[in-house]
């Protein structure tokens, strides 16, 4: 009897409380949110993750480029210092010339044949080009006979080669009166050579005005032939006189003729100026590339402003002195949050209505009672692929990097996610239950393409970052000309681009 009562009571309690319904879920949730607010904040970093990642990427990229550019500079200096230990082993007469040699052939191994100008060009490019420009009188007319005669051991002192060379008639030397030559090492060499010119020194012919030299091609082989002078392959005739064989000297013989030590300072000083020349040339590039990270607010009528981020690259095509065409590709996240409001455009508003009846199905787990849902909030999350085409006007491209740009954007959305939430006030009144549903539709992979529907306006200021890069701070505004995405929501963006430009800064 007691057991039966116990069992009946137990079954009744289970039945009642397993199906227990409570109307205070919303209040309970609010209380829980007060005590457990951390979850909401945890989503913020997810939105800002892109910005952080892009900023870190940009930072590492700029540091890497800065280090790389510094490395190039230090390599030039390293070549100079690496050759310096050789100096003490040389006779004093050649000491200054040894330093100068690096400008002509820095650490180049001896080349046997003439067909290697390209090889030498890699190492001697800047110097040789300078030589071409500043020393048009220089030439490659050194005869092969002279070259062969000049061949000596790799470590042979140039003087020996000079002594053993067939005599070449050398008229009085006149320095080339090219203005920048004062700072050019080759010209300095020429000047330094002047008083030391000796008959029979065919190397001096490089700077002889009477010789023919029209182009860099003419100069390059000439430089190479000077290096031949130290080639072991033909050293035997020169080595016949071991008494004249100097200690180790990997320096080509061409510049060892120069005895003047006073020119060395000028050469070293001029050497520091050399790397700037290619920079000036790169400034004239017609296309410049940049990468950038953007942090911005999305705005739309009725929506709360949402912080978002993006990244991309741009290429600037020079149209005229002050005008450039800027285009590129950007990936950006756009989020909109409408509380108690629907997007103002027609398509989005209509799209809610049909879903109202079906939205209830989502909440079938909560209640069996139907009611008319009321709109609660609406979220849109769009990951866009933006292709801007802007005209950029630089105020003074020679002196600074301040500009304004304006243009239009086209593009598509890689992913579109729209979430509408509804509440059921009728349900709450009828059954004492207030439930909420979520209606989510996701359009994936380039659902629509928009053409020139966003107006871009930006203002940029560039700052030098290293020797070959610029950091550009660019506030921008994107104004919607029409609805975007599958829901045709008119939204814009305003924020800041941090742009890294892979070109030189203006002088």
């Amino acid at each position: 009897m007691d057991d039966q009562l116990d069992n009946d009571l137990r079954d009744r309690i289970r039945e009642v409380f397993d199906n227990y319904e409570d109307t205070t879920a919303d209040e309970g949730w609010l209380l829980l949110r007060e005590r457990f607010p951390v979850q909401e904040k945890q989503r913020r970093p997810v939105f800002l993750w892109w910005a952080s990642a892009a900023a870190v990427l940009l930072l590492f990229l700029s540091i890497g480029l800065w280090i790389a550019s510094n490395k190039n500079n230090t390599n030039d200096h390293a070549q100079i210092t690496a050759a310096k230990p050789v100096k003490p082993a040389l006779p004093q007469q050649n000491s200054s010339a040894d330093s100068n040699v690096q400008n002509v052939a820095p650490a180049q191994p001896p080349v046997i044949t003439k067909q290697s100008p390209a090889t030498n060009l890699a190492a001697n490019n800047s110097t040789q080009q300078s030589a071409t420009k500043l020393n048009p009188a220089g030439n490659a007319s050194v005869s092969s006979a002279n070259v062969l005669a000049n061949n000596s051991a790799l470590n042979k002192k140039a003087n020996n080669a000079i002594v053993n060379q067939p005599a070449t008639t050398v008229p009085a030397f006149t320095p080339v009166p090219v203005t920048p030559a004062a700072t050019n090492p080759v010209n300095a060499i020429a000047k330094a050579i002047t008083p030391a010119v000796q008959p029979g020194d065919n190397h001096v012919s490089n700077v002889l005005p009477g010789k023919k030299a029209d182009s860099a091609n003419a100069v390059l082989p000439q430089t190479n032939t000077q290096q031949f002078a130290n080639t072991p392959a033909v050293q035997s005739p020169i080595n016949n006189n071991p008494a004249k064989t100097p200690p180790v000297n990997p320096v080509p013989s061409v510049v060892k003729v120069k005895p003047k030590t006073s020119s060395m300072e000028a050469l070293l000083a001029s050497d520091h100026d050399q790397p700037k020349k290619p920079d000036m040339e790169t400034d004239d590039r017609r296309v410049k590339f940049s990468v950038y990270a953007a942090t911005f607010f999305n705005y739309a009528k009725g929506s709360q402003n949402q912080i978002n981020a993006g990244a991309g690259f741009t290429s600037d095509i020079k149209l005229s002195k002050n005008l450039k065409l800027s285009t590129g590709l950007a990936l950006a996240q756009n989020t909109l949050n409408y509380n108690k409001n629907q997007p103002s455009n027609g398509v989005a508003a209509v799209s809610f209505s049909p879903s109202l009846s079906t939205a209830y199905n989502t909440m079938a787990d909560f209640s069996k009672v139907s009611s008319t849902p009321s709109f609660k909030n609406y979220n849109a999350n769009l990951i866009g692929l933006d292709i801007p085409v802007n005209l950029k006007y630089e105020f003074n491209p020679q002196k600074n990097d301040t500009y304004i740009s304006a243009g239009l954007s086209s593009g598509t959305f890689i992913n579109e996610a729209y979430t509408a939430s509804y509440s059921y006030p009728g349900l709450a009144q009828a059954a004492g239950v207030q439930a909420q549903t979520s209606d989510e539709t996701t359009h994936k992979s380039f659902n629509s393409f928009y053409f020139a529907k966003t107006l871009n306006v930006a203002f940029g200021v560039g700052y030098p970052l290293g020797k070959s890069n610029k950091l550009i701070i660019e506030p921008f505004l994107k104004y919607p000309l029409d609805g975007l995405g599958s829901q045709q929501i008119k939204f814009g963006a305003g924020g800041l681009n941090l742009k890294l430009n892979f070109t030189t800064h203006k002088k």
């Binding site: 137990r10 227990y20 457990f36 079906t358 509408a420 439930a435």
Partner: protein, 184 residues
């Protein structure tokens, strides 16, 4: 806009694992009634029950990443809820262990036969039980714990668990019979 897909319990749990606040809310509201039904049986009053429910859901949200979706969510939630409610009443439980059981006041209710009992009637009956008896009765009879588990959870001997259960059932029978006489 396309008709939204029906959100299943598994989908809600999966989204909660990814930290979706909206789905946490959905989960909370979907299982709120069920949770309150459990919590009320272990708590002194409604406010106490609600706090226990919220404490339990906070534990659920924090630990849902490690939840095995192969097992029923309700069972997992029930375990967390019972433990949370007991933890909140643990001081009372220890105190009640030394209380003379027969000092409980007689119930005043208008409840009828067992089949007609509603949630309020049952809760009124249970309030008449000492906390330790109510807890053990709920754990054993309603929530399916055995005496070993109850003894471990409450930190009491297994024999004590049996005794308290026996006394709880006896007390409930007494209450029911008195009420039956009152209505009879």
């Amino acid at each position: 806009m396309h008709p939204p897909p029906r959100i299943t319990e598994e989908e809600i749990v999966r989204q909660c694992k990814q930290g979706s606040l909206k789905h946490q809310e959905l989960l909370y509201k979907q299982f709120y009634g069920y949770a309150m039904g459990i919590s009320l049986r272990y708590s002194l009053n409604r406010d106490d029950a609600l706090e226990a429910v919220n404490d339990a859901f906070i534990k659920v949200f924090n630990a849902i990443g490690g939840y095995n979706t192969d097992k029923p969510f309700k069972a997992w939630l029930r375990t967390i809820l019972v433990n949370t409610a007991i933890d909140r009443r643990r001081k009372d439980l220890k105190f009640q262990l030394n209380v003379e059981l027969d000092n409980a006041a007689p119930i005043r209710s208008n409840m009828g036969p067992v089949d007609n009992l509603n949630a309020q009637d049952i809760l009124k009956m249970m309030v008449e039980l000492p906390t330790i008896q109510r807890t053990i009765f709920n754990m054993y009879e309603i929530d399916g714990y055995d005496h070993d588990e109850i003894a471990t959870t409450l930190g009491i001997p297994v024999s004590s668990s049996r005794v308290y259960l026996s006394r709880a059932k006896e007390r409930l029978r007494t209450i029911l019979r008195k009420e039956a006489q009152n209505h009879g």
